[in-house]
Structure formats: C-alpha cells, structure tokens
Symmetry: D2
Subunit: 338 residues, 4 copies
C-alpha cells in the first residue's frame, strides 16, 4: 500500500501515517520526492481499510499494490480450474453451450426444449423456475413445481440443469431437487448472505456479473463464495448498463481476456441477456468464443413468439443448431472443441 | 402501448399484431403514416410483456404510454404522503436529518454518537449492525448484539432507529428489536424476495437506489413493497456509478425533482455515501435540500479517524452541528423547517 | 411522430397539439385510449424539432417513428456499400486490416513499420502526424513533416495511408499530400464544422465513435458528412467510456451487428485504442471479426517499448503477423477472406 | 510516479525500470515489500508518458503522484481567481447569472430577451449564433448576422455577451464583433486546436465539460488554454452522459466542490442543458448555488414555446425573475450576493 501525501504535508503528518500503520501491524517506509512524499506500507494490506488512512491529515491518496482477492486469483493458482458438472467439464478444452428457455412454463414446453437442446449438441440445460422481474405485476416463475418439470425433462437426455437461486431460504429445496448448477443472477451479485450460503455447499455456481459491477467487485463477490469453501465458481459476463439505448446491455467482451488473466476459474458469456434481441445473439456468441470464453448461456425456446418472458431474445431450435455449427468452427481455430 | 412497424411491413404483419393484442385482451387501432404504420393498443398495458409484441415479424419498436408503476405513482395519489416514524413526520413540512455512524461498534461509541446526534438537532439516528462489504475479509458488522446497543443508546434520547436489513431471515429479529425504520441497501434494491417480505410488515422502509438503477426501476422496486401492502416507503438517492473516479459515486441531484413529480412518497438523500469523503458532505447536503429533498442520511462518528469503516466519510459532531445550521437556513427559503 | 398526452389532459390541449402540427406542415390523428390520449403526426418528421412539441401544455412525451438519418440508413440503400481506396475495397468480401504505429516519429521508424505492415499482409497503413493528447505538455505529433515521411514509407509498399485530421485548416494540406483516408478522431466526432468540410471532398473518411456517443448520434455525425456529398464513410468502433477501470475503454462489440443492420456503410474496429494494452488486442480483434466487422485498425510499432506514444498498446511485427493468421481463419468461417 | 511491479518480477526487470527512468532524466528508488516491489520515480513526472513504463516487462501498474495540471491547479495559485468581464466580476463574492435564449433568432426576439434578462437582475447575457446540432437537417444558427443582432440588443442594457465558438476559422470574426466571453461547447472540449487558439487571445473563455469528460481531462483541457497564455477560464458543468433516460444529462453537482478544491478558477453551472426541461431548472439552479457555484448559465426566451431550438428547456421571463429571488436568498446563506 502506498500513501501519497499532499504537496506541503508536514513531517508530523507523515509521522502520524507511520504511527497509524504501526498500530495496524504494518511497517512503513518514507520516500521524499520533489513535490510529494510517499509512504510505503509493508505487510499484508488486505487486512486494512484504505479509508482509515485516507482520513489522516495530509494524506492525498492511498493506492493498493496487492490484489484484494486471494483464492480466486490466478497468482494463487496459475493453472486453469476445470469445474466438473456430473462429468461434463467446464473450463477445459471443451467449450460448453448451456441452452434452454428463459423460464420453465409447462412440462411439454420443457420436454420439447430439452430434446432440442440435446439435438443441437449442448451438454447442459438452463431454465428459470424463479424469475427476477422488474415489475411485481409480471410473471414471477412457476416455482418449485418448475424445478420438478425441469428435472424430469432434462433427465431424459442426461442434461445437467442450471437454474437461478434468488432466495436464500430456497437453497435446501435446490439441494433436494439436486440442481446441478446454481445460478446467482445479476441483481444478487452482491447479496452477500446468499453468496455465503452457496459458499457452504459444493454445487457449481454460475456467478453473473452485477449490472454495473467492476471486474474487481465481481472477483470479490466470487471470493465470498470461495472463502466459504466452494471453489466451483463459473463467471458469467452478461452485459453491463450503459448510455446506449439501442440494445439492452453492453456486452463487455474485454472482460473475457481480463478475467482469464486474473482468475483461474472458467468464464462464460450470456449473449441473450446482453443484447436482448435474438438477432444479435449469433454475432455476440461468436465474438465471445473468439475472445476466449469457456462457454455460453444461450436462450432457446421451442416457439420463441409464445415464450412467457423475454420472447424476443430466444433463438428457435433451428437457429441454435445453426449457431452451434459456427461456434464449433471458431472453437477449432482457438485450439478447442465444442 | 404503441407498436411501431418497420418501413415496408406487410398488411399481414400488421394484422398479426392486432390479433396478438386481441389474444392479450386488448383492442387495437391502426394508423398509416407516410413511411411507417403504427398500431395503438387499447386497454391496460401493464399486464402485458412488451417483448411478446417486439418479437412479431415487421415490428420495429414498442413504446409504453402508461407508467408501469401504480401505487407509488403520484397520478394515483396527488398529495404528498407523510411517513410517521414514532411521531416524527417524514415528507411533510419538516425536513429530517438522520445522523449516526456507519456501523455500530461498541456501547460507548453508540452512547456518544446518540448524544451528539440529538444535540445537533437530529430527530432520528442511523447505524449499521450488518454491513455489506465488498471484501469477505473486511469487518462485517457486530450483528444482533449491535441492534441491542443501538436500541439502548438511541432510547436515552428518544431517537427512532434506522438500520439496514440484508438477509430476509433476519426480519423477525428486526421486528423483535422493534427497529423503527428498515433500510434496504443499494445492493439489495432488486432483491425481490426481500422487498416482498418488507412489503408484508408495516414498518417504514428506506429504499436506497441501486448502483445503476434507473429511476423507473427504482419506482418499480418500491412498487414491489407497496404491492405487498406496506406504503410507508422513503426513497433514498445515494449516488450512482459513473466513469468519474475523483469521488465514489455521482450524486444524481436531478433525481430529487423527478421523484417528487413522479411519486407521492418522501425522498431523502445520503450525501455521505455519494461522495465518499467528509469534506464533500456539506456541499452535497445543502444542494439536496435546495433541490427539494425531504430529508438526509448523514454519517457522523464521535471520532471519525477511529471509525471501523468508512472513516473518511463521517462528519465529526461539531461538523454536523455546523451543517445543521446551514441546512436550517436553506430549509426556510424552501418554505420548510428543520 | 407520436405525441403522448398526460393522463387528464384537456381537449383544448389536444387541439393545441394538432394546431401546432398543422403550423409545422404536418397532419395529425387523435386516438383516445383508456388512460392516455395519443396524437399521431403525419408527414416528414425529420424537419421538426421534438422540443417544440414537448413544451406544449398537456404533453407527456414525444416519440419519433422515423429514423433521423437518411443517406446513411440501410433503408435508403439496402445493399452494402463498398469503399474503394486506391483499388483496395473496404466493405466487400475482403476484410482489411490497417496496421501501423500510433504516431509518425522518424523516417527509419516509418520505413521499418511499412515493411512490417506489408509483410504481415495488411493492405493499408495507419500513422498519426497530428496527435490529440490529453495534456498540452505531451508530444503533439511531428506535423506536416510527418505526412511526408509517411507518404514516402508507404509508397514503397504501395500502401494507401490513413491519418487523422484534427484541424479544419489542415484539410488542404492533407489533399496536397494526397492522404488516402482521412480519419476523424473520437474527440472530433461532433466537431460539426470539420464534418461539413470533409463532406465536401471525395476522400474516404474513417469516422471514429465519440467517447460516449450513442449509435444514433454517430449515424447522425456520418449524415453530416454524407449530406455534404461524400458518401465514402467508414464507421470505426473504438471503445466507449465506462465505469470499468481495468482497461481504457469498453469495446462495444454489439455495435458491430447493430451498425451492419442500420447502415450500408462499412464498419471497422480499433481494438488497440479500446483496450489500451497490447495483450488484449488479439482477443478483441478476433471478436470483432467474428461479430462481422469489415476491417480492423491495429497499432503496430517496429519496437513497441520505444514508441513515442501509447507504447503499451502496440503489437510487435511478429505479434501482428501471428494475429493475421488467426483472423484469416475466422474470416473464412464468416464466408470472407483477409 | 510509482511503478508497481508484478508479484514475482525479477531483479533484472526491476533494474530495467530504473534504467528507463534514468534515460528519461529521472531518479529512482526501489522498495521491496512482502509480495510486491515498487519503484519510486524521482523528478518531474509530467514530462513523461506513463505508457512507456507500463510496457516494460514485469510492470503491473504505474501511478502518478503529481497532478498532471499546473497553471490551473490551486496548488500553484491558492487564492480564487476572479475573471473580469467588462467590469463584471465572476469568481468573487458576487454570483453571476448569465441569462438568454438558446439561439439568436431575430432582432425583436433578442431585444425582448435582453430587456427581460436585465430586468430579472442578470448582468450578462447568453445566446448562440452558431449552433451545434445533432442533425445536419436541424436549424444551425443564424450565423454572423446573429452576432450583430446580439451585440445591438445587449448593448442597450450594457450586458456583456457570451456566445459559442465552434469553428477555429471564426475566431477573428468573434474578435471583430468584440464578443465578451467565448464559450467552448461540450462537443469541443477536446478540440485541441480550438483550445490552443483561444489560449492566444485574452478574452474570457467558458469551457463546458465534455459529454463524458472526467474532471481530470477537463482540467487538462483548461490547461491547454492556460498554457497558451490566457488564464481567464471559467469552468461550466452542464451534466454528463449517463444510463438514466428520464432527463437529458446527469448534473454532476459533486463536480462543483471538487473543482473549487482543485482549481482557483471560477465554476459555473448550466442547469438548462443538464436537465433539458424548464421545470427542472429551478431545483438544479438552487442546488448549484447551494453547492458553491460562482454562477449559472440559464436559458430564458421571451416566449419559450416559440423558440427555434430547445423550446422545452427555456424559462419564461417571469420564471427567471422568480428564480433570481430564490437564488439571492441562498447566495446570502453562502455569504455571497447575487
């Protein structure tokens, strides 16, 4: 940690910084420049609050030199981590496409969806039984009954299931229905009590990026899960809030190489929620794989125009199949398979 | 709802839109312009998903003409709502300043803080027993014991207490300790299960704006609480995420007049979390009152440099007292008191 | 244009809107819904200011139904436009990579750069003689002398040259030195007088997106050039401002399919200025081609660590050559060549 | 300047950083921490490019410790600078409100506007003869003839005039018509050639903040003007781009205290362009003065609904007069006058 003093700070002020560091169990080293003095803190800075130093008189700015995340950091684990989902590997050579509808609606809809997902070559399936909706008057998901329908439909094709957990009280139910991958949604990325709970189970967790979360905050949210003991974490970029109104969210494609550098955990992308329109999905999906993503989360509905939510962003089964072909070719260029 | 068709859309496509509206229980009205055809939907558009129309072939864009919020809308309740907090009125002529530390630390700290808050002329007190922290390794709050310390300290000065609820499982405990105002923090603004639960109790709720929530999403989050039956809602603007790095968040001062126009519920501002530095608080607090805020949430610590969190954003008791004087004068110009 | 009236607007107010439209040479059509009345304007809405209607009493909101851009719109020209740059086609089947240093430094540097650019398989070369720098104390470019060095170096390899025009007074000099493609930089995207001037010449123009320009504003900036008579416009996405601090700008990869849908003109991407780091360039370049870009603008320096500006974002000649191979493979999947 | 090395960087890499600094004319100081080594650069870091260090192997990050701005910095000039505009002081005890229409339209309109501006108590007048419009098909201003009308109307009331310069070639004309204050608009904040030219004259310059300019970039844009010799610079906050769509721009009220701390030059606010609606102007104007602004730029039109541009954001003469009364009262609380 580097404490930059204001121009004209006094020796007493510099001394006070060193004293404060000492009280925090840190050493210090003072370096006087031409215009500014800087104090270097020696020790593990992760334990200390930056604010407690910034408040001291004469301090201009405090800069961390260590990364605040530990377990999820690639420094602590240089090789890629591969998450095993009932035998399906995510984060290794094989790229995984997780397909399925926005929400579970009926058993026939899920049966049809599962058949199409499997036929398209996907090895995992997605579907929401509990839906976070902006309006309290909108469809909120079919609930626990949906988990059962989902399980039944997916099991026929041996597809592990991915579904969103919104309420910490529902975790036991998820475990009972043996949900294979727990998804933490955008709006809950910093629901710290929820993160702590999924950190206690050993189910793989897809952690979606918060609507305007920095990459650092996102890594720290994952650190909450990891600190609890669950290291089966998959990052999912799904677009962030921006000033642009043409599409729903701005897909942050640069986050892919950045995360692959900063963390050893797998990184997937949700092009469906990013753009918000089915016609944008193929371009965004191809870009994600070309940028190094380990997988994709793609909405597909047996009949998109009849979907109960997000009707305009789901691909049809035929569109998904066609896209899989393109993605397979790009994966090969990347030295991977799909 | 207005459905704008693409240039060159066919009669069959226009007909399909009308049919879809009919199936949704809505009437329609087609109007052909020079370049574009628009279809007007007649009926209560709040029940229908915009996406189910956007997905139809030939549709360019769908525009709502009704506001999506009802109970919180000023249209449904033209007069200002006044929230009664154990006899203290928020949203009426009197502007309320809620003072207190970021977090509950010890009984002496809370006793000292409560005395200073009361002495400065504040009628309500804030303090966090559960803290949402970016890092799992940072101080997480003293927990339930903190609620007791807070209650004890505040009761001596007859100050109603305001504290943050992060975990839905803790609501019963909050009710047992008779927390006067439940605060829903930024990271939980769209934690819909939490919103639904506080909608079932009759405690006043301060709903902080999400990190990058639009005003419309914020109003809809309040609508979740209101739809449950709890209409004692107080909006709290606390700065939003932006590209600027000089300060922590960008205080959206324009949100104050906008909310006062759109909703009948009170609007307060948290200048401490917005700027993130104590020296910015007076300017932002004055601006908020001058823009029409009904109250403020201000961090004050008996000894800021010793605070366990956010040390650099708390005012000292003397600074708070001085600020109260300035705010009182501005309130008078606004035809209010403080 | 649709004028949405406030709930409870009076007949007189509705009448006033129709009168105003009539005075503007437009027809009108009134449609009364359950809660709201909407007035449809009939005629060419591009001529009229939305604000002149929004100011009328009783008006809630005004929505355009036509696109504000005409010449650049794909509606007016459904086929892709191909820009011809001294025989090199941009916007057709062949994807073009424009390589070269951030700034022109010396003749040997440019000679070496040109040789490497050509050797890597690029058909056009970039380099700045005039540099827009945040600080007045930073290197501002070598100026006119740089145009000569650039011309000399590029001509040996028959590479058309691309260079930035910052000052309208320098246009004649650019024409004298026969600059092949004029680049309008991010900071000048809405320098309307500059746009008007380059609209009068017939040189191809690369129009970079403004730091936080919406896609609509960007299309309108191009419309300024097109309205002057110059239709040789190439859009260049180069990342936009965001809250993320890990990299310089957020590459808006979604803008690629959006622009390809909205305009017939070619779309290229500058991955070097987007990320701001050389190690991010290959991932972003691959993503851009996979998303449908017609070309790339990539910084390469004979010796990156010795570059006079943006040293950390230039590829070495070897890195550029390696990247070209990857891009060629992705282009093939897209049914294109490179 | 502090160079933070990566965890595990080698001694040779650290040595290379020191060598590079030496070649740049700087001294260095190496400090080894527990996980990281940091190198401190000694000398005037403003002369050197941060990128030339970031590119070196083993370097994680480079942090400046000096402010990049010099002349505009409050460090170099601790007292407030007061800009003298034909005897009117801006930046001193008196707060200045600059009123007038968005654009110059006709002589009678300007005569009427000038009379109202003076009657309301304003001491300076604004009005645009050249208008930066998003669309090439929108009204572009009446041009040079407008300067004459403006001059004539304002002179009757002895009001100095403020008007926008968009094109560097028009500067001589502005000098001939003796424009009192040159306004540099949002879209030209980083039109560096324009900044350099207005740096050579001694006219006061209002420098509006770029659409998404950081405060640091804004200060550096002012430094361009100041470096040319013109120190009569007035900063004008006018709202920045954000994700919020309810209003036009987000007024960054926090920028006011920040600028007052960082620079000695006056700071004014344009509440009209920020919100974009007349009904928002009073709240934003009061907030700006309460936050410490030295002045305001407010749009007023003799008949807002007839204005040729931005009709919905202009106050009427009566509204301006009423607002002046409120602002006067707030100014008094701030120890100022108006």
């Amino acid at each position: 940690m580097i404490i930059i003093m204001k121009a004209g700070s006094s020796d007493a002020q510099i001394e006070q910084v060193s004293e404060k560091l000492k009280a925090m169990g840190m050493g210090s080293h003072v370096s006087k420049g031409i215009e500014r003095t800087v104090v270097g803190a020696i020790g593990d800075e992760r334990k200390i609050d930056i604010e407690a130093l910034e408040v001291l008189p004469g301090v201009e700015n405090v800069v961390r030199v260590m990364k605040p995340y530990k377990i999820v950091s690639r420094v602590s684990h240089p090789e890629d981590s591969v998450v095993d989902i009932r035998g399906i590997k995510l984060g290794g050579k094989q790229i995984q496409v997780i397909g399925g509808p926005c929400s579970v609606e009926t058993q026939p809809q899920m049966d049809s969806a599962a058949a199409s997902v499997a036929a398209a070559g996907c090895r995992l399936m997605r579907g929401g039984a509990f839906k976070p909706r902006t309006s309290p008057y909108a469809f909120q998901g079919v609930g626990v009954e949906g988990l059962k329908m989902f399980r039944r439909a997916a099991d026929k094709h041996n597809l592990p299931i991915v579904t969103e957990l919104m309420d910490v009280r529902m975790l036991d139910t998820f475990m009972e229905h043996d949900v294979d991958v727990i998804q933490i949604g955008t709006r809950n990325m910093q629901n710290f009590d929820l993160l702590k709970e999924v950190g206690k189970v050993q189910k793989p967790v897809i952690l979606k990026r918060g609507m305007s979360a920095t990459i650092s905050e996102w890594l720290m949210a994952a650190e909450y899960i990891a600190a609890g003991g669950n290291h089966n974490i998959i990052f999912c970029e799904r677009g962030v809030r921006s000033f642009e109104t043409y599409y729903r969210n701005m897909l942050d494609v640069t986050a892919i190489p950045v995360l692959k550098r900063e963390t050893h955990m797998p990184v997937i992308v949700d092009p469906s929620h990013a753009g918000g329109k089915a016609w944008m999905v193929p371009a965004l999906a191809r870009a994600a794989v070309a940028a190094g993503a380990d997988g994709l989360l793609i909405e597909m509905h047996p009949c998109p125009s009849e979907a109960w939510c997000d009707a305009d962003q789901a691909l049809s089964p035929e569109e998904l199949t066609a896209l899989m072909g393109e993605l397979r070719a790009i994966a090969a260029i990347m030295g991977r398979e799909l």
